[in-house]
């Protein structure tokens, strides 16, 4: 595998924020997810749950609810505004004051013509969805008390509204409340407290399902306003409800962290008419409140205070055990790990950490000693924090970059880009802001410096890349590189070659454009593969580009010859090993070993891998064999074999799973053959979460 001096960086105290709301678009199979800090993430469920886009948050924005109308995404929050998002430029398109106080919920009708919001002042406001805008239409009858939750009947004629202690059913054409369903309060001490109807669901047979703060899931008849069935599921709150598309199943998320499924089942085979709602399965994948839920065709997606997004497949919907039927927990957004909130100055040994509100610059520790593999080396110089840079304005930082010489630092929010000149001599560090920036550079999705730090590249709207020349005194706009395809999707990956000749940029349409930087023009387009690229890197000597996609496929593309390399073709012909393909998290970073040009260093959130192109690839034909995964991860067995036997067991993938209990953010090879590994133990994250609700555990 090769031996490296490893910097295990554990001072990156990144803390993700809780999931607040979720909306699934069944048409495009995209999941929109809102976090507490106001950021919105888009996951593509057709492409291995890949996190495609992140819209950074803003201080004053809080999102309570999300809603898709066709391909458009709307949010509403406690600041009383409705916002629509520009998913191409990853920013809010506009926001609209609703004049009803804080907004608790936003929904759309199935036709996609109207939006309804529930406000603190007790009004349900209807908005008309126009081509480019939304317009206030009218209020429904104003109620006493806030509107917490809303659900539109599929026909569009009625709306159920969850309030304090009651549920109201509105007739939409007239705007009058037609039903008043009183919800019981909890028992004992909670009797004096109002019951909050956290969530309602209106089914097409006029059944209303409600979940409330007394821990009940209740089924009502919407025609007569009578209670059909009460399921007491928890002592705490039922926070979220979600209905499956065929309305045969409802899931409820509780404060205990459980997700409880209810199904509409006939008691026997012959009595299909008198179906009833029966509590069935309980899933416990969270430790804290489940705030957001979505039941999609084959899985239940849940998220909450413990910041995890969990996709729990419904096993009965699968024919056999496959990749899709495994439980997956998406711990943290992986795009964030994708070199966006971390940069490493390879020459200077500096690390830049990006937080939503600030940037931190660290210098790595140093050691002269040498030791055996596995030893901990004593540090000559401790790692130190050189700089803490707070952002200006309300918008959160969306990307940042540090040049490899360590002399330049840049970050961008949705509204502005800032570039700083850094000077470090021994222990003194000085930072100067580059005052005059080109006008074209107003925001960037991605920032990147060329390897000689003479140029900076900023990914701009419509997949274009701005080239900025950097000199000691000023920075100057040079050119805008535009793709031929006319894609409007944002660039999420950018990398330059070591010789400064090539720039590769990947966008959410799965296109990878390679630009010639000397001619400042498009060189070629890598053949489009069906899955989004999750990481890429250009080899410093051969200028071959290694691309890893969200479905774990691996390609090597020769930029000079404009075709896949032989190694890549051979690999595709043979197929990748199942153990490799079944991994949950996509590869987030690709780097190369300058000493050994055959070695490619990859990592995802949980493992670290070196691919040696000299060796044979493990054959996928052994798939069925039990214990072959052990053969795939064979570094430990290799060590125990004798020198003669070893070559026969060698293969190209060398995987290190030391980092299974922590999250790996960055593994990068410095110029002096030392490896920087930035990790964050999962335990450190869970220990910072607030205490979960108290539960009696057996035998405690």
């Amino acid at each position: 595998m090769g031996e490296f001096k490893v910097h295990r960086v554990r001072f990156f105290d990144y803390m993700p924020t809780a999931i607040r709301a979720m909306a699934f678009n069944a048409h495009t199979e995209r999941l929109a997810l809102a976090r507490m800090d106001g950021s919105v993430e888009i996951f593509n469920f057709t492409d291995h749950y890949f996190q495609e886009k992140v819209i950074p948050g803003k201080d004053s924005r809080s999102i309570e609810s999300l809603c898709w109308v066709g391909g458009r995404l709307f949010s509403a929050g406690l600041n009383g505004e409705i916002a629509e998002y520009d998913l191409e430029n990853l920013r809010p398109k506009y926001s609209l004051e609703a004049y009803g106080g804080p907004i608790w919920t936003i929904i759309s009708n199935t036709q996609g013509t109207q939006l309804a919001i529930g406000c603190e002042d007790g009004t349900v406001k209807l908005f008309e969805v126009l081509e480019e805008h939304i317009q206030f239409e009218r209020n429904l009858d104003r109620q006493k008390g806030r509107i917490i939750s809303l659900s539109w009947h599929p026909s569009g004629t009625h709306i159920a509204a969850g309030m304090m202690d009651m549920i109201r059913v509105f007739d939409v054409p007239t705007g009058h409340a037609v039903q008043r369903l009183l919800v019981d309060r909890g028992f004992g001490g909670s009797k004096s407290r109002e019951t909050v109807v956290w969530s309602v669901a209106f089914l097409s047979d006029h059944t209303v399902v409600s979940g409330d703060s007394a821990g009940k899931v209740q089924v009502w008849d919407g025609h007569t306003g009578t209670l059909v069935k009460t399921h007491l599921v928890t002592k705490w709150d039922v926070l979220a409800l979600s209905v499956s598309k065929d309305e045969s199943s409802v899931v409820a998320g509780t404060s205990e962290g459980t997700v409880i499924q209810f199904q509409f089942i006939a008691p026997t085979l012959h009595q299909q008419q008198d179906k009833e709602w029966v509590r069935t399965r309980t899933f416990k994948n969270h430790t804290h409140d489940v705030r957001a839920l979505a039941e999609i065709e084959t899985a239940i997606v849940s998220g909450g205070m413990d910041t995890h997004l969990v996709v729990r497949p419904l096993l009965e919907k699968f024919d056999e055990k496959s990749h899709a039927s495994g439980l997956r927990k998406i711990h943290f957004p992986h795009v964030i790990a994708n070199n966006i909130n971390l940069s490493c100055a390879k020459k200077a040994g500096l690390l830049l950490f990006q937080f939503p509100g600030q940037l931190e610059l660290w210098r790595l520790g140093d050691s002269d000693e040498h030791g055996k593999p596995g030893d901990r080396l004593p540090l000559k110089r401790k790692p130190e924090k050189l700089l803490l840079l707070k952002r200006k304005g309300e918008d959160h930082i969306c990307c940042s970059a540090l040049s490899s010489c360590g002399g330049w630092l840049a970050y961008s929010t949705v509204s502005s880009v800032r570039i700083y000149r850094l000077q470090t001599d021994n222990n003194n560090i000085s930072i100067t802001k580059v005052s005059k920036l080109p006008k074209a550079l107003h925001s960037a999705h991605q920032l990147c410096f060329s390897s000689d730090s003479s140029k900076m590249f900023a990914a701009s709207s419509q997949s274009s890349v701005l080239v900025i020349a950097l000199t000691q005194s000023e920075c100057k706009y040079v050119h805008t590189l535009k793709p031929k395809s006319g894609s409007r999707q944002p660039i999420h990956l950018m990398t330059t070659s070591g010789d400064g000749k090539w720039l590769a940029a990947a966008n959410s349409d799965c296109e990878i454009h390679v630009y010639n930087l000397q001619k400042l023009k498009l060189h070629c387009i890598v053949p489009v593969y069906g899955s989004c690229p999750s990481a890429m890197g250009i080899h410093p000597t051969t200028n071959n580009m290694t691309v890893v996609h969200a479905d774990q496929q691996l390609f090597e593309y020769s930029i000079v010859e404009k075709q896949y390399t032989d190694w890549s073709r051979k690999l595709q012909k043979q197929g990748l090993h199942n153990v490799w393909l079944d991994r949950d998290t996509p590869v987030t970073h690709v780097t190369f070993n300058s000493k050994n040009p055959n070695q490619v260093v990859l990592h995802d959130m949980h493992m670290f891998c070196i691919i040696d192109q000299m060796f044979i690839h493990p054959c996928p034909c052994h798939n069925g064999l039990i214990g072959f995964s052990g053969l795939f991860y064979n570094q430990m067995t290799l060590r125990s074999l004798s020198e003669q036997e070893r070559p026969s067991h060698l293969h190209a993938f060398k995987i290190c799973k030391t980092f299974q209990v922590s999250l790996l953010f960055l593994a990068s090879l410095l110029d002096d053959q030392s490896l920087v590994v930035v990790e964050r133990p999962l335990l450190a994250i869970t220990s910072q979460l607030p205490a979960p609700v108290r539960q009696k555990k057996f035998a405690t």
Partner: protein
């Protein structure tokens, strides 16, 4: 003819048809009256373990039973009559469950699950038999951890009576293997119990791949049994916790408990009207519960614990067999009435129903000759800590008719007590205990006249040893004048004044058992050694009289005669020899008595001496020999005359089925019959012409199509008249 007669077998399955409780017990099915707890019938006929009982749905007085011998039998359980035997053509088949909604038996044959379809037709002679292999490659449940478990489910109302679900037994190391299954009587719902204590309710399994389940969790150990009530409103479950849990169907949050039922619950049965529940327990007990609130009756067999660690002893007063019973108890079991008398709490601590806990166990018990004193030893071994031993002495209290604790000695020895016996001499009350710590101790009942309030209590009188060797066994001679203690290879003989009289030894091999001869043979001392030696020493000459090379695992002396019983283990079987120490030839021998080693045996004195004329059965005249086989079955020897008597009594038990058979009824019924016979001895009942067409017409025609009563009356009366020709 002498035959081993099994008294108690562990396997219990139960079924409650209203007034009677049917229970599969070993190779027979026992019928109990649910009100009087009496065993009414013993349906015998199967030749292997009975694995299931089910009522005949078309006739509620009949019951089917299936057995590992591959047959299904139909019984009339009220009369105890075998009606029909349905053999299976499959040899070595093993019927595991029977479900009679479509009259279907499921058999496991050579790891194949086979469903035998018996169409329900009125005609008993013609039987179309359909045989279909449902599933191959099935390992018997619980055999292998990797094996896939099969749930066999009979569904009411569906033509296909069986549905199978396969689920890998070890999913992510979770212990979710299936342990039991029950079907909802009305809805399509199956409840399964799992090893990790969870109960899953499966629904919607008719639609392909749309099955769903909900989970109930209360049990901390494996769920042993599940049963829906006949209306389907409740689900009953039980496990090692010995708590009967009643779950309300559809409102699973609500559950009722009936705790402290005794041993772990192994089976639950519910009567057809749902008024009676019945649980069988691992300690050979059946509890009858009235509507989940009140225990109304307990049918207790010989309490079967984890293993019997005490020797079998006979209580001289009640002539009951005394051995380990409930955990921490001694049970007194009347052999003559085949009934448990009572349990004596020795440990006097709460028993916790959980696996893997080290709790006090009674390991030794001994009575003195008159039954005034009982000595018990209890011990507890905890991992990483010292052995805890208590010696307790119990005095018989005439007033309460039971044993009262007199003295407790904590840590009487430093190591395990290996043997204990009372001195039989009438002058002193002395107990000798020997232990692995190399000592034997004599305990005397000391009268402290100065402390009047205390009364008599026990104290240590003498501590003896021999060259720091570990003693293994001890024995008093019949008059109490000699004590023999075996120290490994050496037998030491002590006088009552604790003088070492002599030592005897016959190396090699440590002494395993010691026994003094009785009556005319009291000059002999017999000993067995681990190196396959049976030696007989003459105490007058202090020399070896004879020895023979047999591997004697157990030596037992009959207290009422000179006879000795020796159980020898030979090639996996046990042989029995009965001999007199003075005579060279054995009185009786039986080869291959049972498989495995015989662990415990005892001679129980008879109430009345038998006058047996057969020569080889004369050793059974004074006392009866009981022994435990390796499978913890209690066996005994009976003579031919006894067997005849048993047969006669079982015939006498067959009585009118309209009244529950209670002892009171037996008494009264006999009395009434006699009376009847006295009052009109000559009365004969005239057979009514029941087959008459007119009566049939009157009784079986639906009421709304009947002609008027006046028309029928004359016809009916005429039919009752006896025609002149037949009268003559």
């Amino acid at each position: 003819k002498l035959d081993p007669l099994p008294l108690c077998l562990p396997h219990v399955k139960i079924k409650v048809p209203q007034k009677f409780l049917l229970c599969a017990s070993g190779e027979s099915v026992k019928v109990y009256s649910s009100s009087s707890e009496e065993c009414v019938h013993d349906l015998q006929g199967h030749t292997d373990l009975v694995s299931g009982i089910v009522r005949n749905p078309s006739n509620h007085l009949q019951v089917y039973s299936c057995s590992a011998d591959g047959t299904v039998r139909l019984w009339d359980f009220t009369d105890g009559i075998l009606i029909k035997v349905q053999p299976h053509s499959l040899p070595r088949s093993f019927a595991i469950a029977a479900s009679f909604f479509a009259l279907c038996t499921v058999l496991v044959k050579l790891f194949q699950l086979v469903a035998v379809h018996l169409p329900l037709s009125g005609d008993q002679e013609v039987e179309a038999r359909e045989l279909s292999a449902v599933l191959c490659d099935v390992s018997p449940s619980g055999a292998a951890s990797f094996g896939r478990k099969v749930r066999v489910v009979g569904l009411p109302g569906t033509s296909v009576a069986n549905k199978f679900f396969l689920k890998s037994g070890n999913k992510k190391g979770a212990k979710n293997a299936f342990t039991c299954v029950s079907c909802h009587p009305k809805e399509d719902c199956i409840a399964t119990g799992h090893e990790d204590g969870k109960i899953r309710l499966w629904r919607n399994f008719n639609q392909k791949k749309e099955y769903t389940y909900s989970t109930l969790h209360w049990h901390h150990g494996a769920v042993n049994t599940l049963q829906f009530t006949p209306e389907g409103t409740n689900l009953l479950s039980g496990g090692i916790e010995s708590v009967l849990v009643q779950w309300h169907y559809t409102q699973e949050n609500q559950k009722d408990f009936l705790p402290r039922l005794g041993g772990a619950i192994t089976h639950i049965a519910v009567s057809p009207d749902g008024s009676l529940f019945c649980t069988s327990h691992s300690d050979n007990k059946i509890t009858i519960i009235q509507s989940c609130v009140k225990v109304s009756a307990i049918i207790q067999g010989l309490v079967k614990g984890e293993g019997v660690r005490t020797d079998l002893t006979i209580d001289p007063r009640s002539k009951a067999l005394v051995l380990n019973g409930k955990p921490g108890h001694l049970q007194f079991y009347s052999l003559h009435r085949d009934k448990l008398l009572y349990n004596l709490d020795i440990v006097q601590q709460e028993y916790i129903h959980e696996e893997g806990l080290d709790q006090f166990e009674v390991v030794k018990a001994a009575f003195d000759t008159r039954g005034n004193w009982l000595a018990t030893v209890e011990e507890r071994t905890q991992k990483g800590s010292e052995l805890e031993i208590n010696l307790k002495l119990w005095a018989y209290d005439e007033q309460t008719q039971s044993f009262m604790l007199n003295t407790t000695v904590t840590a009487p020895h430093e190591d395990q007590i290996t043997a204990m016996c009372f001195s039989p001499s009438p002058e002193t009350t002395m107990l000798v205990t020997i232990s692995f710590d190399g000592h034997f101790k004599a305990w005397l009942l000391a009268d402290h006249s100065d402390t009047k309030a205390e009364g008599a209590c026990w104290s240590c009188d003498f501590v003896g040893g021999y060259h720091h060797l570990k003693p293994g066994c001890c024995c008093f001679s019949a008059d109490g004048s000699l004590l023999a203690v075996g120290f490994q290879e050496v037998v030491t003989v002590w006088s009552p004044s604790w003088e070492l009289l002599t030592t005897l030894s016959q190396p090699p091999g440590a002494i395993r058992d010691l026994c003094f001869g009785r009556l005319s043979c009291s000059k002999y001392l017999l000993g067995t050694s681990t190196k396959n030696q049976l030696c007989c020493w003459n105490l007058l000459t202090c020399s070896l009289e004879w020895s023979t090379p047999v591997d004697v695992s157990l030596l037992q002396a009959d207290p009422l005669s000179e006879n000795m019983a020796a159980f020898c283990s030979q090639s996996g079987c046990s042989d029995l020899f009965v001999f007199k120490p003075g005579e060279p030839r054995p009185l009786y021998s039986q080869k291959a008595l049972c498989t495995g080693k015989v662990q415990r045996a005892v001679f129980a004195p008879r109430d009345q001496m038998l006058e047996s004329c057969e020569e080889h059965a004369q050793w059974l005249n004074r006392s009866q020999l009981y022994f435990f086989t390796q499978h913890m079955d209690l066996m005994t020897f009976s003579t031919k005359t006894e067997e005849d008597r048993l047969l006669a009594s079982s015939k006498r038990l067959m009585v009118d089925d309209s009244v529950a058979v209670t002892p009171f009824y037996l008494l009264l019924g006999k009395h009434r019959q006699q009376q009847e016979a006295l009052t009109n001895p000559m009365a004969e009942r005239i057979q009514l012409p029941q087959g008459s067409i007119a009566i049939k017409e009157l009784l079986y025609t639906p009421a709304h199509v009947l002609p008027s009563a006046s028309f029928l009356c004359s016809m009916f009366v005429r039919s009752l008249l006896i025609s002149s020709s037949s009268a003559r």
